[in-house]
Symmetry: C2
Subunit: 415 residues, 2 copies
Amino acid sequence: MTPTPLAVLGARSKDAARELARASSATKDTALHAAAAALRDARESILLANAEDVRRAEKAGVGTTVVDRLRLDSARVDAMAAGLEAVAALPDPVGEVVEGWVRPNGLRVRRVRVPLGVVGIVYENRPNVTSDAAGLCLKSGNAALLRGSAGAIESNRAIAVALRAGIEKAGLPADAVQLVEDTRHETVREFVRLRGTIDCLVPRGGPALLAIVVEHATVPYVVDGDGNCHIYVDLSADLEMAERIVVNAKTQRPSVCNAAETLLVHAGIAEQALPRLAAALGGVELVGDEATRAIVPEIGAAVEEDYAVEFLRLRLAIAVVDDLDAAIAHIARYSTGHSEAIVTSDYASAARFTREVDAAAVLVNASTRFVDGSELGLGAEIGISTQKLHARGPMGLRELTSVKYVIEGDGQVRP
Amino acid sequence: MTPTPLAVLGARSKDAARELARASSATKDTALHAAAAALRDARESILLANAEDVRRAEKAGVGTTVVDRLRLDSARVDAMAAGLEAVAALPDPVGEVVEGWVRPNGLRVRRVRVPLGVVGIVYENRPNVTSDAAGLCLKSGNAALLRGSAGAIESNRAIAVALRAGIEKAGLPADAVQLVEDTRHETVREFVRLRGTIDCLVPRGGPALLAIVVEHATVPYVVDGDGNCHIYVDLSADLEMAERIVVNAKTQRPSVCNAAETLLVHAGIAEQALPRLAAALGGVELVGDEATRAIVPEIGAAVEEDYAVEFLRLRLAIAVVDDLDAAIAHIARYSTGHSEAIVTSDYASAARFTREVDAAAVLVNASTRFVDGSELGLGAEIGISTQKLHARGPMGLRELTSVKYVIEGDGQVRP
């Protein structure tokens, strides 16, 4: 079967978006619950489809981490359904009056949240994104145009079929969720150039995808970028706390963007801190600069690149810095602007760090792992923005909306 | 003299941005006042430089509208200086806590406004933009990297020299404001690809500039697009009010983006309304559809394109529509998403229009000319966004900021 051309899918998404923008919260919530029920009902077909994707991946010799991300089981299907129900329980951002005021001439002005329209998502081998993204878009009144990877196509298709059936049952257009089935590599370019159709693109993938988006996209997009996250242990740090935070940030889930990649230690506390931290980080491959290795010789030698990359595994780069200024300068040089933390007991250090470090999130005495939509209380997230326009940090439902000025008068004209 | 390479200017802007981000409101306001004083002091050199630009433009046979925009006089220099002082009097958006909450685990979360960093502006022959944009960027803690046109280069240079001197006097880096002096056409492309340097680009110009930005930009940008603005006169409209609003929206300043370009009239009121409106619009070239011309035969015949373009002059397209649905459908088809107005006495029509019309601003019983930063109370504007991401509608100081998460804890780690 020939896949439906992208332009046709796009036009359908736009039509669906118009209907969704007018849908009441109650209707959208009903649709989310119906979609959740439909997912559970389709459990068997989803798992069968997924088994085929997994078989193909294994046959192709794909790494086990990738296969793990791809693989679904009954519990994961339940988790997707529960995710939709959790989104239904969140407050609807659409219609929220952000602010309002009256002008001296009597004009009543207010800014009201409205859906973006069509949200395009490009993502890799995680079939749960199909359901999670569709749920967030639906709740925020947006049509979701989903472009998953070839490797997960069978799973994605089975999930999308179920979601669409549920949505339609609730009286909303099935095209609220559409899956692009043409997963040839070259169609990504075409996808990111659907200007006038896609109101917001969220690319979720590695540097290769991001490069395509930056170079070729004509649609507005929000970058979900890398996290080369630092933890700076200040002179005044409580070392027990520092140990707890560094271990958590590095090891609790090393493969994610808010995991720590570099540890900076103030020179005045390095002799006490480094041996203790190195011991606590057993199982983590440590590399450090000369000052670090002078204190803990077992630590390997770091090269410049170690400070610049996101390892996404149990490896940590360490550097000793002379003071807070040097720590801030190091971060300014290597940070990807995701999440940066300081461990300190000093009021002024905390204040300067939070003010001067330029990142989506700056943390004092807490693990970088908290920079996440659920952990911060947004309910769910469609990604974590590392850019400064529109959204910065975890993107929840509000970040999937725009704002419209509504101006009401009694015949006012401009003098 | 060879102009400074763009990469060098960019690096200087980034350095300046770091200092500006830390500057207090008091320092920034002092700098704005000093820049205003410096502009007044440099009045003579600015007017001399401008005279040269004007001479060149006239010699090149440029149209009088363009020359008018380009030409400065003593009052216009005063207005630029007063503009900077007015910006100084506005509240500083930087540091504003947008919202904040405490998580169940005791983490204190807040979202704080921070400057964007380096704001790039590409603009045409209006030398006042050099001063206006620099002032808004300075107040919001951003470095301004200004790329004016070749036609205004002498004026822009004289203005930038004065602004930089004033800013430096107040102890802030002169590079807070930099003018790109290489105004060759091809360098616009290079400018819009300064990724990692320009945090936000605001292109202010016509469709040709916008096309370059959409096709080539790798930096984030906010589109200040066209305004094909409609006024819909509903069945229940007060015709005296409709007349006042239509005349104001079309004729008060026809060359700007928030002027009306199309008039839609409900069929049920067209026989009464059209002759009256046509008479009131004396001096405006009117073109209409068949239904319109059946009522007022003097009106010229409109072609499809008349409904799609922004005339920016005393020409108005008219169409009779069957009802509110047809009006909304017409607007959905031709609107550029700028400003759309309804004149009505009917509660439900007003509610539906404001809800269903998708535009940066929707107005009830008021002239579209109010969609402007000063008129809405934002103080000043750097442009009017017609996109949905980041900013929509008039962009004031707040729209020149981003937000940073600040998360404070007592040693929390993620379980």
